[in-house]
Symmetry: C2
Subunit: 189 residues, 2 copies
Amino acid sequence: MPKQVDHDERRREIGAAVCRLIAQRGLDAVSLRHVAAEAGVSMGRVQHYFATKDDLLMFAFELISDRVAARLGAISADDPAACLRAVLLELLPLSAAARAEAPVLAAFLAQAVVEPRLGEPLRRGSGEMAAWLAGMISAVRPGGDPERDASALLAFVDGLMLQVLIGQVSAEAAEELVDHQLGRVLTRG
Amino acid sequence: MPKQVDHDERRREIGAAVCRLIAQRGLDAVSLRHVAAEAGVSMGRVQHYFATKDDLLMFAFELISDRVAARLGAISADDPAACLRAVLLELLPLSAAARAEAPVLAAFLAQAVVEPRLGEPLRRGSGEMAAWLAGMISAVRPGGDPERDASALLAFVDGLMLQVLIGQVSAEAAEELVDHQLGRVLTRG
DNA sequence: TGTTTTACGATGCGTTCGCATTGCAAAACG
DNA sequence: CGTTTTGCAATGCGAACGCATCGTAAAACA
């Protein structure tokens, strides 16, 4: 048998090419041939590591989900308020990494509307995120309805992400909007 | 020549079929053959009224844009606060009409991320909406920064629309979130 | 009434798609 | 050192795609 390769690493390389393709040209541009070209490998290789196109797309979805989770998990701050702010900002396409991932997230988000298999993990992630936000909110300002505030904040940053992506809101304006919104939630109102 | 037909009406019929297809199966499902089948007409007819697939999609986009604008324009209320609330709720997939349109909007919104020709009209509409919201906000509660509040509200309802579409937030919860958010904006905080 | 123009239906073309199949070089393994 | 297994490249297939073309029934118009 040929050189033993790192199976998962190869899958991740190809999955990354899928994400790049989605970010630059949308989900429609994802075909086995385009993915192979983007990854700089043969089409046979793509087929060797992914049984179907659907597998490939699902893997790409998990890949960016994991990337986002990793970025969020790397955030650490002394006080909960700063941590909250950092997490919300990390969800927006402000850094180079986030700018690369956000279009992919947006594409999968829209696809989830008509594809239940994407909706399920997306709902789970969204739920976990809301629970975490609620915890942080009540840590900063006990009382009130932290779950409601968390849901509202999540919807707000999701929408803001799209507005920034289509160029309706600049990165600076988005950051200011987050700060203002966060101020409203974290101060007794 | 055959029976003189209402050209625009025929285009709207086909465009409506496109919207139905997008709402139920996503943008990928839009092909000339599928559209013809959904509209119950021949493929030749679709081609007769739309030179290219791109024309067809652009027309469908204008169609739902006009529909949303019409629904928003039909809103009338005595006091500005009620009007503001009604408009925000109308942007969410709560009524049957909005539930049919929201998935289409979401699909085009995501497509706009990688398709500048969709981004431009979307930015314009979003800008007009924000300006209108800002006007209403300052009518209810003068002072503050109505433009900022308007942008934040718009991002919030956009994100909330997606959350409702993927089933993360129920219609009732969404309505309550809008009320709460609106209360924050319209009362001195 | 004859002519012209319009609204299509039908069909075909070249391309691209996802996927299956085949073949084979090479390295791990006995 | 042979055998076997693995990683992949190449090719082919049927289906679906967007689009161009052609034919024609029929109504508007002269």
